[in-house]
Point group: C2
Chain length 333, copies 2
């Protein structure tokens, strides 16, 4: 077996600065970290990025670090929580250079600093692997809602509106270009987005906490995640494809597709959008939309919550058949 | 890229039972978990096992799951803390069978249940990889000390005794047999131990919290970790090799070695022993030893804390030269 302990040298050079000298990190010199005392409690998410699964071997490592943080921050934002502590487990390929490792740490650190309100890296483990890079981050957050609870998937009620922050589809289009399944013309923004899809700014978490009755981030695909929300809330969700908020690039791409509905479904099932999908009381819709606009976030009413179960999709108010694949799911063996 | 989302089916079948229906896990059906409110605060450790680095590809997967939990539990026990929540990030090789995955989950779950006081698995992520298995666990604990603080590496003072729980060296001997660098004769117990080295029972955490002024688990190697403790506490540690507590198998192995000191040093630098190494006020030594005995744990006085810096090693009270390698460390590039 290889020597697993790259750690001593690295902790000092790369990770310790990311601890922001937070007292509870003990300078990353001990075996555990201590969370600050919180009367509001803590929520926790743990997600990973795997070379060849979530990113391409040729991807710049700075973007891989960025992607890892955003993947987790997206979960906290959509639950109305602020990150307060991060823990990294890194399986670092023996064949990759120290320079790439510095790039990874830089992307991770900058994203914790600029997009997670200087959330400290408080611990973890760095070891070597003979295989592809695997990095997992545990992000611990504090819920912002007055209840002290995260906004769950299960709070949607009949009569709520389904509202989405930002756009969907760019991550899908960008990935298709990067996999050479689509020409890159006119999709430079989508390609950049797909390298490290970005959730809305952290301040949006407070709006989720204030206004959303149910919420989750769109990671598996809009249709799949809408169905998750409906299932958890024991209601039916119906989405209108023509309301799908997409970027200017995606609008132009859509306009050039021979089968518009199929193209819209591709965007609504591609996944990795990292935008909060929320169930909102209609009385709050305008307040949320206005407050989000102050943060530069577009809110779109994309559907309704009704009595029943499952998911419906309409195009121009005509119900259409659901695609076989609602998102980035595995098929059963 | 591969489909990263094995999750839906697996969560239900394998992981949900391990959540023990803990309210804050939301049945592993949401995107975050919520920790219970704790007036004592929380400590956190995150550690991983990597195929080819921390375990052999042929290792039974049940033992890999067990090893992962113990690696993390060892950190909490040595800090005087009890585990309360676990989060798993699993990069699962596409070529391994569902049967092996069930074995992994079984080892993980049984160890959380029987050795971590039914600590619930409250979240995480399972994705596929084209490379070797990588599993990381974040274990969140509650400190047991009256101060609400973990027992750090930095609390040792001149005059304290260095005391070790259990034995060292079996993990090293067992690994050497498994790598076919040693004959297996008489080392069956060491081989079994090395598959998933075990810390003392969880109840030992309360003794650490009550008696230890400084503590860490011996994972890098006894000499390396003694030096870590001395450095953090700004004192000198001196260990007596002839006081090294070893198992009966290791005693017989030692007796057969031509160079006893070299053989003792091999046991004291092999690592992965997962036994707490503690700085103890001499006035507390007997109380700790008696209380530990009630738990079936042997406590051995292996050295002293003195004024100065660094590490000294004696054999029969004669100071000997330190080996070049104190533990399982990487050399600088």
């Amino acid at each position: 077996m290889a020597d697993p302990s790259l750690e001593f040298e690295l902790i000092a050079r790369l990770w310790r600065p990311l601890s922001n000298e937070h007292a509870g990190s003990f300078g990353l010199r001990d075996d555990v970290a201590q969370l600050p005392v919180s009367s509001k409690g803590f929520v926790v998410t743990a997600d990973q990025v795997i070379e060849g699964t979530h990113f391409l071997p040729s991807d710049p490592l700075e973007w891989v670090g960025r992607r890892l943080v955003r993947r987790n921050a997206s979960d906290l934002i959509a639950k109305g929580a602020h990150p307060v502590a991060a823990f990294l487990a890194l399986a670092w390929p023996t064949g990759r250079s120290r320079h790439e490792l510095t790039d990874f740490a830089s992307g991770l650190g900058q994203t914790l600093a600029s997009e997670c309100a200087n959330c400290p890296l408080m611990g973890g483990d760095t070891s070597t692997t003979h295989g592809p890079l695997v990095a997992s981050l545990t992000l611990i957050g504090q819920p912002l809602a007055a209840t002290g609870l995260p906004i769950l998937r299960s709070g949607a009620r009949v009569g709520d509106r389904l509202m989405l922050a930002g756009y969907v589809g760019d991550a899908h289009l960008g990935l298709q270009v990067r996999l050479e399944r689509l020409a890159s013309d006119g999709l430079a923004g989508a390609v950049a987005f797909a390298q490290a899809p970005a959730p809305p700014p952290l301040a949006f978490a407070a709006l989720v906490a204030q206004y959303a009755k149910a919420s989750l981030d769109v990671s598996d695909g809009l249709l799949a995640d809408a169905r998750h929300l409906a299932q958890a809330s024991q209601v039916r969700a119906t989405l209108e494809l023509n309301s799908l908020p997409v970027s200017q690039e995606a609008q132009l791409w859509l306009a050039a597709q021979p089968d518009r509905i199929s193209a819209q479904l591709a965007l609504a099932t591609g996944g990795e959008d990292y935008q909060p999908l929320m169930a909102i009381d209609p009385a709050d819709a305008q307040s949320l939309t206005s407050a989000a606009k102050q943060l530069g976030v577009t809110i779109t009413d994309i559907g309704s919550i009704e009595a029943g179960t499952g998911l419906g999709v309409t195009a121009g108010n005509q119900e259409i058949d659901l695609p076989n694949r609602l998102g980035w799911q595995i098929r059963a063996d």
